[in-house]
Amino acid sequence: METEPIWKSWFARHGAKLLLFARQQARNPHDAEDLVQEAFVRIWRLYGHTGEVAPGLVYRAVRRLAIDWARSLDRRKIREQKVVAEFPLFESFKSSIEQNERQKAILAAVDRLPPEQKEVLTLKIWGELTFDEIGRTLDLSLNTVASRYRYALQKLRDWIPVQLEDQPKTREESVE
């Protein structure tokens, strides 16, 4: 029997989801990787000795760091330079030839969501967090999280064509 550092299997499970979330916070892949690295290392140093770390802690650290970095003058300058080149959400996902167009349509719709709804949707769908965990990660109430998620899904249903086109649409606008 040999051993493997636990962080590797942990990171293999959660790394892609963290990067996806971080890309929404940082708006470019380079900053996103820096965010994930910094957040993960900080949290793992504090709690890695327990053998397991709740993903919500790292998502929360990513978000707080993103806020800190956004406040930093240097970071803001860098971001202003990089934001010229847009990084569509589609580029953060695996794609296959058959599903390419459909995926693009779905992810383009997700990209159109207001940021506060998109981050809730990301944490729920791809981060696989509960509403309660999302609330603690984003410092929001349970009701706010649930309603943002519901609004996001309703907007996507209206925006994504094809299979849902024949269903009656009840479009609701975000009231937040």
Binding site: T3, A16, V36, R45, H49, F93, K94, I106, L156
Partner: protein, 190 residues
């Protein structure tokens, strides 16, 4: 509601890209020692690691050293009781003549003597198999270091096992050595 459930399923089917190996390597570098504070056991068919061929000399040498001590301390008394003739002057000389065998792991004892006295061969040992067993990991808590950020002290208890094997005589020797390692993880309180 069903259409929203379908939409959820469709979204879940989309998989974000995995981190690149380069990025994972970067994270590993950044983690440093804190990446190795916890492990999980994984099955492996790979052969055990082998460190150095010189290890094969150690256990026979230890066994032979014990034999030699026994011979030097016990046998002269035995033979002395049988020998009633006067002791030659040369034997009482404090300066002993030492024959140095450079291949022998024991100073002053040739390989031939080692083999004779111990009854164990000195040639034909297979490469030793070495493995490191992690017995325990103790988190000793936060420590304050003047002039530095606080750190978390973690103590590892290992057992280093070395297996020697002599196929011709089917002789096996296992040596175990306990070892401790203490690492201090820098904490960046956040």
């Amino acid at each position: 509601m069903k259409e929203l459930d379908d939409l959820e399923e469709e979204l879940k089917a989309l998989q974000p890209k995995d981190p690149t190996p380069a990025f994972t390597a970067r994270v590993e570098d950044a983690l440093g020692d804190s990446g190795s504070v916890s492990f999980r056991r994984i099955s492996s068919d790979s052969p055990k690691r082998s460190r150095s061929k010189l290890y094969f000399l150690i256990p026979p040498a230890l066994a032979l050293a014990a034999s030699l001590v026994w011979m030097l301390s016990f046998l002269p008394k035995q033979t002395g009781s049988l020998d009633t003739s006067p002791e030659p002057v040369e034997r009482s000389s404090p300066v002993a003549e030492v024959m140095e065998d450079l291949d022998s792991p024991l100073h002053g004892v040739s390989l031939e003597e080692l083999e004779t006295y111990s009854g164990m061969p000195t040639e034909g040992w297979a490469d030793p198999q070495v493995r490191e067993l992690l017995l325990d990991r103790v988190d000793e808590g936060l420590i304050q270091r003047p002039g530095f950020s606080p750190g978390r002290q973690v103590r590892f208890h290992y057992l280093d096992e070395t297996h020697w094997m002599h196929p011709a005589s089917n002789t096996r020797i296992i040596s175990t050595t306990p070892r401790q390692e203490v690492i201090i993880l820098d904490l960046d309180l956040y």
